[in-house]
Amino acid sequence: QSNSNLPIQIESNSADFAQKTGVSTYTGNVHLTRGGLTLTGARLVITRINDRGNVKAVLTGNPAHIDKQPDSTSPERITGHADQLEYTNANATLTLRGDAVLNRAGGDTINSPVITRNLDTGQTQAQGSGGAGANNDGRVRITIQPDSAGEAGS
C-alpha cells in the first residue's frame, strides 16, 4: 500500500497560505509529520505540484531534523539533519542538502554534502560536491560502528 495516501500534518508558530500560487509557508518551530516520519525545522515552504495532492516540501533550519520511526511503509528507523530537507510525497523521496548527516539502522552514519533517500525502498544515494577539500569535506563519509556489524543480519 503505497505511501501517497498517508495524510501530512504540519504545526508551526505561524502560517501563510497563498492560494493563487499554491505555495504555503510555515515559520517558527515547524513540525511536519506523515506516518512515522517527522521533520522539524525553522521554516517550511510547501508548493503544490499538481492537483492530485502531490506536493514538494522544503524545510530549512540550522539544522533541520528528520526522524523516521519504523512504520507500515518501511521497517527501518532513520534519523538525521541537514541545512535543508526536501520531501516529495509522490515518490517518498527525501533529500538532505548542506552538511547532511543520516543515521541508518545498524549504526551507519553517512556525512555528505547531499544525501537522497527513498523512504519506502530504503535506497540511499550520497553525492559529494566534487573537488575534495583539504580534509575530504566535499566528500561522502560513512562510519560503521563495530557492534552494528554483528547484529545487522537482515
Binding site: D108, T124, A126, G130, N136, V140
Partner: protein, 756 residues
C-alpha cells in the same frame, strides 16, 4: 655459527618504500570515504577515490562494493591494500576484511617485516598470516634489475611458521637464471623453525668440493634435531645428525655421522658423541659422556675445524655425585679412545693412551665452620691399561685448617697428614723410568702451611681505587722417596701466580713434592670508579726454598722449580679504554738465568670497526720432543727421552673494514721454532647491497699427525631474506673478534684457533 662482528640477519633485506597508506589507529571502528555512494540494505557501493578502513586494514580504489554484514569487499580499477606486515597494489581484488581471506590479481607486493617485494599474477590471502603468491617473483633487492630474484610458480609465505616455501623456483642473479629447484623452504623471520638451514658450499684438500644442506626440525619446545646430508666429491655421501633435549632437570645431546663408503679411505666411517647432565635428586647429580670414531684419522680427514683435528683422545665417562653441606662424594668410571696411529711412547705417563679409571671413588669433606675447619680428602682408584703396570691406589688426607680474616689482613694455616697405599699388578710391564720392586707401596707425608696477607687500598681524588695485596706463605711438606712409585695421573703443572701458593707443584697424586719453602708475592689492581672495571692489574711472586727439592718427576722438562726455589712469575694487564688491552706474563728462571715462559698480547679496536690482535707465546721445553714420519694415514711417532720441544709462536689477527661494503679478515699463526706456519687465513666479506653479501675465506692449517698442512676454501652467499648459502666463514674464524676482557660475554679472541 653466528655471523662475524656485524651480524647480518639472514632473513631481513633492504627496507621497502614506506606504503602510502596508514593503518587505522584502533582496529574496531571503520570508515569509508568516497566521492559518491549508494547504499541498499547491507551493500554500499562507493565510487571516486574510495578510502575504506576496516578490521585493521586500509583499502583505496576508484570503485569499492562493500557488504556491511559479511564484510566482503570488492574493489576494481586499481586498488591499494595495506595490513600489518603486507602492502600491495593490484588491478582488482576482493577480500573479506573479517576473515582476512581474499584474492588479488596482477599484484605488486612488499612484505614490510623482511623487505621482500615483487610481482604476482595472483595473490591469495589465506587468513591472518598466510599468503599464496601465484606465478610470482620474490627479492629483497631494490631497483629495477635485482641482484637476486626468485621466480616461482607458487610462493607461500607463512608469518606464523616464519617460513617461505617456493615451488618450481628459479634463482636469478641479475636476471641470469643460476639455480632451479622444485622445492625451496627459506626463513622469513628469525625464529627457530623447522626447515632447511643455509646449505654449505666449500672445498678442502682432504675432501674436495663439498655441499651440505642441514635441515632443522623443531620437534617440540624442549627437543629438536638437525639432519645434515653432506656430499664430498672425493669421499661420497655422509649423513650427520644431532638430537638435543632439555627437560626440567636433565639436558643432553646426541651427535652422529655416518659415511657408508669413503672412496678416498676405502671403508665405512662414523662418529658417535653423546652428552648428558642432570639432577637425579636435590643433591645427587649425574654427568655422562661418550665419544667414538671409527678410525684414528677421522677428524684429520673429515673436519676442517682445528679444535677437532688437535684432539688426541676421546673421553667416555659416567660420574655420579652426591652432595651435603661441606661434603661431596663422587663415583666415576672413565675410559678413552686414542687417535694416534702408532705412538712409541716412553711408558708411564708418556704413552698416548691414558690409564682408565675403573672406577674412582672420591670423598671430600671440609666443614663449613670458622675459624676452625676439619677436612678430609679420600680417594680410591683402580688404574688399568693394557701391557702396563696397573694399580689400586688408596689415598687419605685428613687436615685441619684455622683462619682469621679481618678484611684488611688475614692469617690461615693448615696441618695435614697424607697416607697413600698402592697395590700394584703386572709389575713386569712397568716402563717409564720407574721400576717398582715390590707390589705394595705405602707413603705417609705430613704437611704444614701458614699463609698471611694484607689487603690495602687507596683511592685517588676522582674515585679510582688501587688495591695492594702483599702475601707470604710458609709451606713444609715431609719428604719421602717416591721414585719407585709408577706414575698414573701426575705431571708438572704450568706455573702461575696462584700456583706459587699451591701445596703440591705436581698434578695428580703420584708425586707429592717435598717442601720447606716460603712464597713471597704481591698483587695490585686499579679499578675505575663507577663501572668497577679493572683497568690495570699486576702480580709478582717467587718461592724460596730453604733446602733442595728432592721429589722429582722423570723426564719432566720445564717445571718452573729449581734447587733453591721457583722461577720469578710476573704478570700484568693494562686496558685503559674498551678499545685497547695489553696483557703479559713472564716467568724468569734465576738458576739457568733464562725465560721459561712468556706471553704477550694486545688487542686494539672496536667490535664493529677496525681490530688488530697481536699475540706471542713462548713455552720452553713444554713437552717431550718427538720425531714423526710416514704419510697421512700411517704416521709413526717416536718420543725422544731427555729432549724437549719448545713452543714459540706469533699470532696476528686483523679485521679491516675497507669501505662500509667490504670487510677484510686475516689471521696468521707462525711458529718461530722450525719456522713454519701453523695456521694462516684470509677472508673477505663483500656487502655491495643491503640485500646480499658474499663471504669467501681461504685457510691453511696443520691438520695431520705428521704436521702436514691442509687447505680449505669456504664460500658463503648470504641472500638476505632468503637465508644463507654456503657455509659460515665463521666456522673457522672466531665468531667474535674481541678478547675476553674487552667483551665480557665472549671468550674468543681473534689471534686464536677457533673453538669446536
Amino acid at each position: 655459527a653466528d655471523m662475524t662482528a656485524e651480524d647480518i640477519s639472514t632473513y631481513r633485506g633492504c627496507p621497502v618504500a614506506p606504503p602510502p597508506l596508514v593503518l587505522p589507529e584502533n582496529g574496531d571502528t571503520s570508515s569509508l570515504i568516497a566521492d559518491s555512494a549508494e547504499l541498499a540494505d547491507q551493500v554500499a557501493t562507493a565510487r571516486g577515490d574510495v578510502h575504506l578502513e576496516r578490521d585493521g586494514q586500509t583499502l583505496e580504489a576508484p570503485f569499492v562494493r562493500y557488504n556491511r554484514a559479511t564484510t566482503q569487499t570488492e574493489a576494481r580499477g586499481g586498488l591499494k591494500y595495506l595490513r600489518d606486515g603486507l602492502y600491495l597494489t593490484a588491478d582488482k581484488g576482493n577480500v573479506n576484511t573479517r576473515s582476512r581471506s581474499g584474492t588479488f590479481s596482477n599484484v605488486d607486493y612488499s612484505v614490510l617485516t623482511n623487505g621482500a617485494r615483487g610481482q604476482a599474477g595472483q595473490v591469495d590471502s589465506l587468513g591472518d598470516n598466510r599468503y599464496r603468491l601465484n606465478t610470482a617473483n620474490y627479492s629483497t633487492c631494490p631497483g629495477p634489475t635485482k641482484a637476486w630474484l626468485l621466480s616461482a610458480k607458487r610462493i607461500d609465505l607463512d608469518r606464523e611458521s616464519g617460513r617461505g616455501v617456493a615451488r618450481d623456483a628459479t634463482l636469478k642473479i641479475y636476471d641470469v637464471p643460476v639455480f632451479y629447484t622444485p622445492y625451496l623452504n627459506f626463513p622469513i623471520d628469525d625464529q627457530r623453525h623447522t626447515g632447511f638451514l643455509a646449505p654449505v658450499i666449500g672445498g678442502s684438500g682432504n675432501s674436495g668440493f663439498e655441499l651440505a644442506t642441514p635441515y632443522y626440525i623443531n620437534i617440540a619446545d624442549n627437543y629438536d634435531a638437525t639432519i645434515v646430508p653432506r656430499v664430498m666429491s672425493k669421499r661420497g655421501l655422509q649423513l650427520g645428525g644431532q638430537f638435543r633435549y632439555l627437560f626440567e632437570h636433565h639436558v643432553g645431546e646426541f651427535d652422529g655421522q655416518v659415511l657408508p663408503y669413503d672412496a678416498e679411505y676405502g671403508a665405512e666411517r662414523d662418529l658417535i658423541h653423546y652428552e648428558h647432565l642432570g639432577q637425579l635428586s636435590e643433591n645427587v647429580g649425574i654427568a655422562a659422556m661418550y665419544s667414538r670414531v671409527s678410525d684414528d684419522d677421522y677428524f684429520d680427514d673429515l673436519s676442517n675445524n682445528l679444535a677437532n683435528t688437535s684432539t688426541s683422545n676421546l673421553e667416555r665417562s659416567i660420574a655420579l655425585q652426591a652432595v651435603q653441606p661441606g661434603m661431596r662424594f663422587t663415583l666415576l668410571a672413565q675410559d678413552f679412545q686414542t687417535l694416534n696411529d702408532d705412538f712409541n711412547g716412553l711408558g708411564g705417563r708418556f704413552e698416548d693412551n691414558p690409564y682408565r679409571r675403573v672406577p674412582e671413588a672420591r670423598f671430600e669433606l671440609l666443614t663449613p665452620t670458622a675459624p676452625f675447619q676439619l677436612g678430609f680428602d679420600g680417594e680410591f682408584v683402580n688404574f688399568r691399561r693394557d701391557d702396563s703396570v696397573n694399580a689400586y691406589r688408596t689415598d687419605a688426607r685428613p687436615n685441619i685448617q684455622w683462619t682469621h680474616d679481618e678484611g684488611g689482613w688475614f692469617l690461615n694455616s693448615e696441618a695435614a697428614y697424607r697416607i697413600t697405599h698402592y697395590d700394584l699388578r703386572d709389575l713386569n710391564d712397568a716402563r717409564g723410568f720407574v721400576t717398582p720392586t715390590q707390589d705394595t707401596v705405602n707413603r705417609t707425608i705430613p704437611s704444614f702451611k701458614a699463609d698471611a696477607g694484607l689487603r690495602l687500598s687507596r683511592s685517588f681524588n676522582n674515585g679510582w681505587i688501587q688495591t695492594l695485596e702483599p702475601r707470604m706463605q710458609y709451606l713444609l711438606v715431609g719428604y719421602e722417596d717416591q721414585s719407585n712409585i709408577p706414575i698414573f695421573d701426575s705431571g708438572s703443572a704450568t706455573l702461575n701466580y696462584d700456583q706459587l701458593y699451591a701445596n703440591n707443584r705436581y698434578t695428580g697424586l703420584d708425586r707429592v713434592s717435598d717442601a720447606n719453602q716460603i712464597t713471597l708475592g704481591v698483587s695490585s689492581r686499579i679499578v675505575s670508579p663507577n663501572t668497577g672495571r679493572t683497568v690495570g692489574e699486576a702480580a709478582l711472586g717467587r718461592v724460596t726454598s730453604f733446602r733442595d727439592l728432592r721429589v722429582g718427576l722423570p723426564n719432566a722438562g720445564t717445571t718452573g722449580y729449581g734447587d733453591d726455589g721457583s722461577d720469578y712469575v710476573a704478570s700484568g694487564m693494562f686496558s685503559p679504554t674498551e678499545t685497547f688491552l695489553a696483557r703479559g706474563v713472564v716467568q724468569y728462571n734465576p738458576e739457568d738465568s733464562e725465560i721459561d715462559r712468556a706471553l704477550a698480547g694486545t688487542t686494539l679496536g672496536r667490535r664493529e670497526g677496525y681490530q688488530l690482535d697481536l699475540g706471542y707465546r713462548y713455552y720452553r721445553d713444554y713437552r717431550p720432543a718427538r720425531d714423526v714420519f710416514g704419510s697421512d694415514d700411517d704416521t709413526t711417532t717416536n718420543l725422544i727421552p731427555g729432549q724437549f720441544e719448545t713452543l714459540s709462536q706469533v699470532a696476528v689477527g686483523a679485521r679491516a673494514p675497507i669501505t662500509d661494503r667490504v670487510n677484510l679478515i686475516g689471521r696468521w699463526n707462525y711458529s718461530l721454532e722450525g719456522g713454519s706456519n701453523v695456521e694462516s687465513l684470509a677472508g673477505i666479506e663483500y656487502r655491495p647491497s643491503c640485500c646480499y653479501a658474499v663471504r669467501a675465506a681461504w685457510r691453511r692449517f696443520v691438520a695431520d699427525d705428521n704436521g702436514n698442512q691442509d687447505t680449505a676454501v669456504m664460500v658463503q652467499f648470504v641472500l638476505r631474506g632468503l637465508g644463507q648459502f654456503g657455509n659460515s666463514v665463521t666456522s673457522f674464524v672466531d665468531s667474535n673478534v674481541f678478547s675476553p676482557t674487552m667483551q665480557n660475554d665472549s671468550y674468543n679472541s681473534f689471534d686464536t684457533i677457533s673453538a669446536p
